[in-house]
């Protein structure tokens, strides 16, 4: 489904029905994550560093007996590193990598709410004025009068 959106081009995003999303903040950006992907949101747990792994997947954590990778999207997005705060959470996602479901934790600086975004608010991704890799973006939408990014997690993490 996500692949198709990209193939049709980022300018013509298609969201037919209202989409339920989880709003989370990383750095000074706000992201709207398709709630279908989100398995759970947990408090930070001790992470185990994995030597030799890619920098944006620096560690693993134990989530209910599963050892899952923990992704630091700040590294992926070229944001400065930051210490955890009282608002830091791990958002556990289930994404498809090569057709197989894969669990991965994403460090979020803050999780705001679960909400719905309406198709009417969907904006085409501008070609200029973005310091983002357009591959990482499914589309842009509006939330509390702010533009937020709906990321393509499969692309970001693979």
């Amino acid at each position: 489904m996500d692949q198709n959106v990209i193939e049709r081009g980022p300018e013509t995003p298609e969201v037919a029905a209202p989409m339920q999303v989880v709003m989370l903040g990383i750095g000074d950006e706000v992201f709207a994550l398709d709630s279908e992907l989100v398995r759970e949101i947990i408090d930070p747990v001790p992470a185990t560093r994995v030597a030799g792994a890619r920098p944006f997947l620096p560690s693993v954590v134990n989530v209910r007996g599963n050892v899952i990778p923990l992704a630091d999207l700040r590294v992926r997005f070229g944001m400065p590193k930051a210490e955890g705060t009282a608002d830091t959470r791990i958002v556990v996602l289930e994404i498809a990598i090569d057709g197989d479901p894969v669990l991965v934790g994403v460090v979020a600086d803050k999780v705001y709410e679960v909400t719905e975004i309406s198709p009417a608010d969907v904006q085409p991704t501008p070609r200029v004025g973005m310091h983002w890799n357009p591959e990482f973006i499914r589309f842009i939408t509006k939330w509390r009068e702010e533009f937020v990014i709906v990321p393509n997690m499969e692309r970001i993490l693979s």
Partner: protein, 288 residues
Amino acid sequence: MIERLADPLVHLIRNSIDHGIEDTATRLASAKTDIGRIEIAAIHSGAQVLVTVRDNGAGLNTARIRAKAEEQGLLAPGAVMSDQDVHQFLFHPGFSTAQTVSALSGRGVGMDVVKRTIEAMRGSIDISTAFGKGTTVTLRLPLTLAIIEGLLIRVGEGRYIIPLSAVEECAELSAADERERGRDFLNMRGDLVPFVRLRNLFDSAGEPDRHQKIIIASAGETRVGLIVDQIIGSHQSVIKSLSKLHSDVTMFSGATILGDGSAALILDVAQLIAAGQGLADKPLKEAA
């Protein structure tokens, strides 16, 4: 697991029928019932399952196995060897004591394959026999394929598991070995053993412990010393595979969960040796 067990079991049962159970006349002559009996049992024992195939046939003919081994040049004539060790020749590729090839056996292919299959499942195989009374073959299989005995170690702030099957011995790195003289070799009772500082390989933060420990690990023919900060102890580890997203990570074969709930990585010794060789080949940049 069950599918992988099917072929070895069929083979063991065939062996019992063909090599074990005697013909009616012989059985009656040795005061046995005219019908042979093969029992297959599976018993729970600790973290293992014991699968036994027991027949009340003729038992292993140790003398004949020995003669065959000598004939094939596997054993020097007259060499002293326990019956138990002689029976191990049955697992040698191409070894068969059957005089003729029958529909069931005698081709000398089989027990070595059975042994390999069982060992691939991290199990082991034992034979016990009483001449004239029968033979029992016991397969010991780990209850879950996902449990290994491991050695829990600490490198910097990270804790890791080394599979105990790869560990040969542990020692303290002596002050003489500690001195870095541009060569990472160690004299283990006259053998030259290269060593790898896991701190360097893992890029660990902080200062190394004063008394570094060395774990001699082997993979195949190669031995290597792994230098660690601390040996914590043995740990029965439930293997969790690493995520697909970490498929580019080669130094670790999996992870496990420690008593405090944190995850620890399991070292892949064969890969570490390769990585260590790569590290040794690079010019010493930090040692200078």
